[in-house]
């Protein structure tokens, strides 16, 4: 518990600050502070409280069930283009806010996924996951989604190559938080 506070001290400090600001807004009837809380923070926070625990439980389950050897052959170093496509598919079938991808990459890394596939996962998850595409089509049309997907795919491929090069010889690792 003590360790937890130390590791998260900056975040906890900021949370206290925000909470104090919100409390003051209610005490002194400050419109902006109240609105930030009720019309922005609550709806955003609701998404987090719904998605994240479920996602983390799924990560925990995958961790206990999927063996390292299996992951290594499928998406590890030397898994080639097939591994790349597989990781993109995996990313597309996920949901959640962009930052939800980081904990998943920790698991993938621990199980032996290659550096390139870690960054490919980040790229694909943030740009072309299916729930996002469905949402996009309803608001901006399927043509927009199609063009964006076709342009983005090669770009995230190139980016993952660049990242792979950038971390080479630098002992890249995904830490457990």
């Amino acid at each position: 518990m003590h360790k937890y506070f130390i590791r998260n001290k900056i975040s906890l400090l900021l949370i206290t600050g925000f909470a104090a600001f919100t409390a003051m807004s209610y005490l002194y009837d400050l419109k902006s502070g109240k609105q930030i809380f009720t019309t922005r923070f609550i709806p955003f926070g609701r998404e987090m409280l719904f998605f994240l625990p479920a996602m983390f439980i799924l990560i925990g389950l995958l961790d206990t069930w999927v063996s390292k050897e299996k992951v290594q052959t499928l998406i590890g170093e030397g898994s080639g283009i097939r591994g790349n496509l597989l990781i993109i598919l995996l990313a597309m079938f996920q949901a959640g806010p962009p930052y939800a991808a980081f904990p998943t990459t920790y698991l993938l890394w621990k199980k032996g996924a290659s550096v390139r596939n870690i960054f490919l996962y980040l790229g694909a998850f943030s740009t072309i996951k299916l729930p996002l595409l469905v949402f996009e089509m309803t608001f901006l049309g399927w043509k927009f989604s199609l063009i964006r997907t076709l342009v983005t795919l090669p770009v995230i491929f190139v980016l993952s190559f660049i990242m792979e090069k950038s971390v080479r010889n630098r002992n890249f690792t995904v830490r457990k938080v």
Partner: protein, 155 residues
């Protein structure tokens, strides 16, 4: 919604096959969740404040048709520094369209919005270290601007 169903089914199936493993898995997952919870909390609060300070009308004014190249650059910058969940980003994009912002500028905004996350960089750094987190955001920003430009040209 789908995530909740998938998780629920996975837990049920996993529990039926191996009770011990399932409980260990859920515990490990929730422990990880608790570790990132404070960072995520801060992230949401910062985003909430940012969105409040920059309502759609104001954004549209700076990204409007007359804005030209500056509009694109602003859109890229705005996308990079904000972290909006897609269920807010797309309705926002719809509103911006109505205010007269071009679909090209919106493409640029969405591109950097998805690929770069300045507000989440502190969370990212805890997983990959500061150097990699910063390099990734810079590299992906360049990629997002290139992708955004191509999307804008094709549409």
């Amino acid at each position: 919604m789908i995530v909740l169903i998938v998780t629920f089914l996975s837990v049920v199936v996993s529990y039926l096959v191996d009770k011990k493993k399932t409980i260990a898995g859920i515990q490990a997952g929730l422990r990880l969740f608790l570790q990132v919870l404070p960072s995520v909390f801060v992230l949401i609060w910062v985003t909430s404040t940012l969105i409040y300070l920059l309502p759609a009308g104001v954004i549209a004014h700076y990204l409007g048709r007359e804005a030209g190249l500056t509009g694109y650059l602003l859109a890229a910058l705005l996308g990079a520094i904000s972290l909006i969940p897609s269920f807010i980003a797309y309705p926002l994009a719809g509103v911006l369209l109505k205010y007269g912002v071009s679909i090209q500028v919106i493409a640029m905004f969405l591109s950097t919005l998805f690929m770069v996350g300045v507000p989440s960089i502190q969370l990212e750094a805890r997983f990959y270290g500061w150097r990699t987190a910063i390099v990734r955001n810079v590299v992906y920003l360049a990629g997002a601007i290139i992708a955004g430009t191509f999307i804008a040209l094709i549409i």
